[in-house]
Amino acid sequence: MSRTHVTCVLNGDEIDFLCNDYQTLLSALRDELGMIGTKEGCGTGDCGACSVILDGQLVCSCLVFAPEVEGRRVETIEGLAEVDHLHPLQDSFLEGAAFQCGVCTPGFLMAAKALLDRNPSPTETEVRYGVAGNLCRCTGYDKIVRSILDAAARMSDPERQKEAT
């Protein structure tokens, strides 16, 4: 069967790949492109482990057919850190011990990024709703929520931002 050629912008770089039409974006990222930072949890859009940002919208990459991303912008966990330093969310997650096994972490970080892109100073309630589509079986969520709030504070405080860089 002939495979489909897809061109998209992935973490800022124009790339192309071949896939089967029935493959999901999650499968294309992991199996065709070797980008295994995005995790597979449930495969049905319930757990959020495979969260990526597609044209500015947070989505479950397990619920996107790979050919759909033709000409579109995809952001994954691999694009979150800058060359020489982590994203403030990653710093906060590390300092706040916001993960244990780590499988849910890339999805939480992408959901948190999408939330802070839209709402730079969320309340705790807004954070909890913002990551309601992400399941974590280890932390009990509190450390994750606190780390996202900490990152938001860090990102809106120029002094702390300077410190980080």
Binding site: T4, D21, Y22, T24, G43, T44, G45, D46, G48, S51, L54, Q57, L58, V59, C60, C62, L63, V64, F65, P67, E68, E70, A111, A114, L115, Y129, G130, A132, G133, N134
Partner: protein
């Protein structure tokens, strides 16, 4: 399974006519889990999102045209739509997580034909029409006529919905939607209720529509609601006025619920009455605020 993303209605209809096993999709938030759950794959999936008519959102000549393939996240972020139809935006905004909101659409929520679809009761309450295209050309249908039972629609295999035409709210008119779930996010309605209310300059109800979800095989309109509420000044809280009991009886008369893990039939009848009152109160308050 093959994937195609036509860029015009004609191209999409041609694909569907030529491939009897083809199926349309927009957000795929129901389609992919169903395939993962063992439902046979369609031979072809037709992505509707690149057809301009399905992603258009504009107000013109007394109507709002809302593309059937616009993701809920775009609808809830749209200030004009939110001001015009707060209840519809509430319904669309309750479908799944933020991740699902980035994909789920009004057209998909309707055509998945679940009795518990959150965006359908407000569409019905607003008197929205679905613009349907297919082999026979274009036709329109009331949203209430599209779903004929759980997982079944009146659309033929070559047909799909391009957009919804919703009458722009007149002065003194607004809507509301509420659903009940045992937690605050990530669940399917035990019961949902939408209301649209129009009030006159004195705040007296002139027109009312109440529509329920998850209490019957399809979304149901409480057709007696208008007669019960018209001429009443609807208070800020549903108190002891006798007409609330009348509304409750009319609501129960429309319910034909099932017992399942989300709730018993008896419980659904009770919750439906509570939610109907609440959404009527909210829609009436919003309607007064437009005066």
């Amino acid at each position: 399974m093959k994937y195609r993303a036509p860029t015009s209605i004609d191209e999409a209809v041609e694909l569907l006519s030529a491939h009897p096993g083809a199926e349309v999709f927009a957000g795929a938030t129901d389609l992919i889990p169903q395939i993962q759950g063992g439902r046979p794959e369609p031979s072809l999936v037709v992505d509707l999102k690149r057809i301009p008519e399905t992603v258009r959102l504009e107000a013109e000549n007394g109507f709002w045209r809302v593309g059937a393939a616009i993701p809920a996240a775009v609808l809830t972020a749209h200030e004009g739509l939110t001001a015009a139809f707060p209840g519809l935006v509430e319904g669309a905004g309750l479908i799944g997580s933020d991740q699902i909101q980035g994909r789920a659409t009004l057209g998909g929520n309707l055509c998945n034909a679940s009795p518990a679809a959150d965006s359908v009761p407000p569409l019905v309450a607003l008197g929205a029409e679905a613009i349907i295209v297919g082999r026979g050309g274009e036709r329109s249908a009331q949203v209430s006529e599209v779903v004929i039972g759980p997982s079944a629609t009146s659309l033929d295999q070559s047909e799909f919905i391009t957009e919804f035409r919703i009458p722009a709210p007149s002065r003194g008119s607004s809507d509301a939607y509420e659903r009940f779930i045992p937690r605050t996010e990530m669940d399917i309605a035990v019961v949902g209720a939408a209301a649209r209310i129009r009030v006159d300059g004195d705040g007296r109800c002139e027109e009312a529509a109440v529509v329920l979800a998850a209490v019957a095989p399809t979304v149901v309109e409480v057709s007696a609601a208008s007669g019960i509420l018209e001429g009443r000044v609807i208070p800020h809280y549903s108190g002891r006025d006798a007409f609330w009991d009348e509304l409750g009886e009319a609501v129960v008369a429309c319910c034909n619920p099932i017992d399942d893990k989300r709730g018993t039939a008896e419980y659904r009848r009770k919750v439906a009455q509570v939610l109907a009152r609440r959404t009527v109160v909210t829609a009436a308050r919003r309607a007064r605020e437009t005066l």
